[in-house]
Amino acid sequence: MSLLETTAITKTFGANRAVDAVDFTVRAGELLALIGSNGAGKTTLVNLISGLLRADEGTIRFSGKDITRQTVNQRIRAGIARSFQLVNLFDHLSAFDNVALTIFARQGKTRSLTTLAGRDQAVADESMSILKEFGLAPKAPTLAGGLSQGERKLLDVAIAYALRPTLLFLDEPTSGVSTREKAPIMDVVTSIVRSGNITAVVIEHDMDIVFRYSDRIVAMHQGAILADGTPDEIRRNEQVTTTLIGTGETA
């Protein structure tokens, strides 16, 4: 069953059709990898679905509802969350505060001016619990700006996860971290996503990561979908291997 469905979604920047009439589907419960070379339109597609950009044409349906014209806030309330390619944190707040603030926002408590944030034990407990899941509990008091790149990537995902989304977009969760750190990060992320019954879409360039962790792969090229299939199907897809992977090698 489709959780998300875009129909002929299009975005142009000047003469460049960054996303060109794309029909993209995400099924409930899967971990889908979105691959493609730089400029293929992956991040633009996620920006359109998450509401960062407005589509020029086409429709986006989520859980059966048309969300094409909805605001970012409405999409978050509907259950769509995302992390960012370039880590987007609140650098002058602690790791704990980054997560706690997200929980306050999710619960609609950020409207409160007369209660002390530090007195909300339920939010504090949930924040620590999420940080523990991501292995960041020891870093709870550290300002986000002072974390290592790997920790920042994890915190970025933890913030999105704290929204308790139905559909989570992870934009290059392992970019900018050392090869040694990539697998542990993906192990943590995929374990949490699967145990939380979250549908996830991961944009990733590292093919080892893609083939190892995803249930299905969608390959994009020049704003359009080039191929869609299981990791084995994509591995055998000659068009993908020549266009995206370059030499016909798949892993």
Binding site: S94, P141, L143, G146, I159
Partner: protein, 334 residues
């Protein structure tokens, strides 16, 4: 890099409580131990501190640098003066209420325009709008008294319980000082609750990363507007308290250099700490008072101080004091 600000009970740490209690105690005994001149100088400082607290909700907590806070200070002052002129009101409580409501109205209106923008665009818009009010105060002289301004007599406090009496200096240096002190403490406590609330944390998130704040569900534009209005209300309260102290309001209080003074208070004390703007406002008021008495080129002195401050103490007086304290504490550790 190890501050746990949001959910830690350390926000009420013993040291902070002791320092706060000592500061309040010192402020409470000033009329008894200091000359009326010193008490009145502190009284001005407390009034400016309320304005700086309001201003810093935007600068320090929301990341918006306003160059137009004279608008809300001046609105508070002029609303009081107009109440006196047209309605003959003498009650300080009504002055305070009307000053706050007037500045809320102006800030709510200006905020709709300003908070859609950030950085230099926000600063320029706030500056331009404040100059509209200054121009109105200057040109509508039959209402505002033009450049002569409007006089405000000594008010009655607490429904007449604290009347002005014959000696204005004695009134200002004692009863009015305590009145201002209590409102300053209430304003400080209210601002502390606001910045420590989930709303206050959302403002800090907007300051740090507007895009991410939106993607965790914070309605950036709306929250900025609310912060803008609250900031205006605090500054308007300060204006309402200032005008009986000064006895007169003129368009100068709406002119852009006064907005610059509010920025100066905050930068001097340090906008990255809660108490920085308070310390900065009181320190600036002393600095200006003595610089004016010392030389006719007092603006030059203040300018040099500001340049030196930015170059040598970018975190302000309080920020620098905290850094020194932390260094000493680290050095003492075995």
């Amino acid at each position: 890099m190890t501050e746990l600000a949001l959910a830690s009970p350390r926000v009420w740490s013993g040291r902070r409580v002791v320092i706060g209690a000592l500061a309040v105690g010192a402020l409470a005994v000033i009329p008894a131990v200091a000359s009326p001149f010193q008490t009145i100088t502190i009284c001005y400082g407390l009034v400016f501190a309320i304005a700086a607290l309001g201003f810093n909700l935007l600068l320090g907590y929301t990341g918006l640098l306003s160059f137009g806070h004279s608008a809300y200070f001046g609105t508070g002052a002029y609303v009081v003066a107009l109440l006196v002129k047209y309605l003959g009101v003498a009650s300080m409580e009504l002055f305070v209420l009307a000053g706050i409501l007037g500045s809320i109205a102006v800030a709510a209106l200006f905020g709709v325009v300003c908070v859609r923008y950030t950085r230099i665009f926000f600063g320029i818009l706030t500056l331009a709008l404040s100059q509209v009010l200054w121009s109105l105060a200057l040109k509508l002289f039959w209402v505002t008294g033009g450049s002569d301004g409007l006089r405000v007599p000594t008010p009655t406090l607490l429904g007449g319980l604290g009347g002005p009496g014959a000696d204005k200096v004695e009134f200002i240096a004692h009863r009015y000082y305590y009145y201002v002190l209590i409102l300053f403490l209430v304003a400080t406590a209210a601002m502390w609750v606001i910045v420590s609330s989930p709303f206050g944390k959302a403002l800090q998130a907007i300051r740090d990363n507007e895009t991410r704040a939106e993607f965790v569900g914070v309605q950036v534009w709306k929250y900025r507007w609310i912060a803008f209005v609250i900031s205006g209300a605090f500054t308007g309260l300060a204006g309402a308290l200032w005008v009986p102290l000064n006895g007169l309001t003129t368009p100068d209080i709406l002119y852009w250099p006064f907005s610059g003074r509010i920025v100066f208070f905050t930068v001097l004390g340090g906008f990255r700490t809660f108490v920085g703007p308070i310390v900065g406002a009181i320190a600036y008021n002393y600095l200006e008072t003595y610089a004016v008495g010392f030389t006719v080129y007092w603006q030059l002195v203040l300018g040099i101080v500001l340049v030196l401050l930015v170059l040598t103490m970018p975190t302000g007086l309080v920020g620098t004091a905290i850094q020194i304290f932390e260094r000493v504490r680290r050095a003492r550790r075995p």
